[in-house]
Symmetry: C2
Subunit: 253 residues, 2 copies
């Protein structure tokens, strides 16, 4: 009798453990069962498809969703699939012997991840804090985004000229950014172009279009252009093909 009672008890304990372990697993595994998660997925899709623009912070109801997205593996999967698409596009592309076949890569959240910083800013729920971001960037300790580092290295090895084009301020963040890129393995690029004083206060589309126009005038053929913001990929001379790396934490106009 006691043995059977114990069995019943054990079954309940097992059920409890099963349910509990699922909820823990769910914490950092993207799941969709609540309407809010479905809504936040739609919002994230709207961001990536360039339907949602000029947003200043993530929707408050999506805080846990974005946290789970960034930490639970889906963000990494999404980046990896974009990079696979780039490899497919590159598959039969051979750089010309004149050394003018170029790729443009953005820096923040394309080459280098600011996730650690945005974890302290509630994954983009807190409004942008230029002073705190500057302090973070000065530390030169952003980790590389692994799939994009792999892409960068393959581009360099294949003989493409890689230009790193970033809206970071040249005067204040130039040294730290170059150091950070180097300590993360971004070595062998043709040139890094930061925002010079003449472009201060200008939108990213304007600034980056101007730079691409100059590269074009210098005879470069922009074969591909990779960035986490649509403002990296729109405007003039955007390149033969553009690739949008996901970013569910912030929007740069």
């Amino acid at each position: 009798m006691f043995t059977v009672m114990r069995s019943v008890w054990e079954v309940f304990v097992l059920m409890f453990i099963s349910v509990f372990s699922k909820s823990v697993e769910a914490k950092h595994t993207a799941r969709m069962s609540l309407p809010v998660e479905g809504h936040c997925l739609s919002w994230r899709l709207a961001v990536e498809a360039n339907n949602a623009r000029a947003w200043r912070s993530i929707p408050i109801q999506c805080l846990f969703y974005v946290e789970n997205y960034m930490l639970g593996g889906q963000y990494e999967r999404d980046v990896n699939v974009v990079v696979q698409q780039i490899y497919q596009y590159m598959a039969d592309m051979v750089p010309g012997e004149d050394g003018k076949d170029a790729w443009i890569l953005d820096v923040d959240d394309t080459c280098l991840s600011n996730l650690c910083y945005y974890q302290g800013k509630r994954y983009g729920l807190d409004p942008f804090d230029p002073a705190a971001f500057k302090k973070w960037a000065m530390r030169a300790s952003c980790p590389a985004i692994p799939a994009v580092l792999g892409l960068f290295q393959r581009l360099v090895e294949s003989g493409f000229k890689v230009f790193l084009l970033t809206g970071r301020d040249d005067e204040t963040l130039g040294t730290a950014t170059i150091e950070n890129l180097e300590n993360q393995g971004f070595v062998g690029y043709e040139r890094i172009i930061l925002r010079k004083s003449e472009y201060r206060g200008k939108g990213a589309v304007f600034f980056k279009s101007e730079i691409r126009k100059q590269l074009n005038a210098d005879g470069y053929r922009i074969r591909g252009n990779v960035g986490d913001q649509w403002s990296d990929l729109q405007g003039d001379f955007v390149g033969d093909r553009t690739f949008k790396i996901p970013n569910a934490m912030y929007f740069v106009p």
Copy 2:
């Protein structure tokens, strides 16, 4: 003793029912727990962000994912969020008194849904079948996509000139398409433009750019442009802003 045994049995039956009912619920509720679902979500994101291009069918491992996506509510949610973004953009937009403020809407899977047809084509896993699609379109029985019908009506009521621009063949599908739009409530548009013989065999970007160029030459200001394909939204005179309606079933170059 038997009572307790029965309790144990009941607990197992309850556990079985609980697990079984969850799997049935999961059938049409988007959930993510399997790696394949995470991968298919990344693929779908890559499609919507215009990173994945020129695909001929959905990935075979994503068949059940796309089915769940289309039938489980997430597709509808995604469309609704895009239309909400359009309403936000339109909020303080008043059409000019010259009657030249225009919107362009695509037809297939923007105004009218072909989901019923694609259910018989394994949600886009089967390759495109022009004869079968023509037969389907001739029936003039595509249902409206509710959120887009609402948008259409609001645009017309607000005084915008709405142009329906579709790659469907004018000669063979013109009558059926106009009938279908009317029986679904798409009434009051300025003009429907189908593909005339001179544009047969041309890509959608070329055909639609040429038409938009003519509208522009006629003095229309394209305030917004809505389509489920990036080929609706790229090229020349794309409009002040473009909106991508999701489509995880097929790609039109």
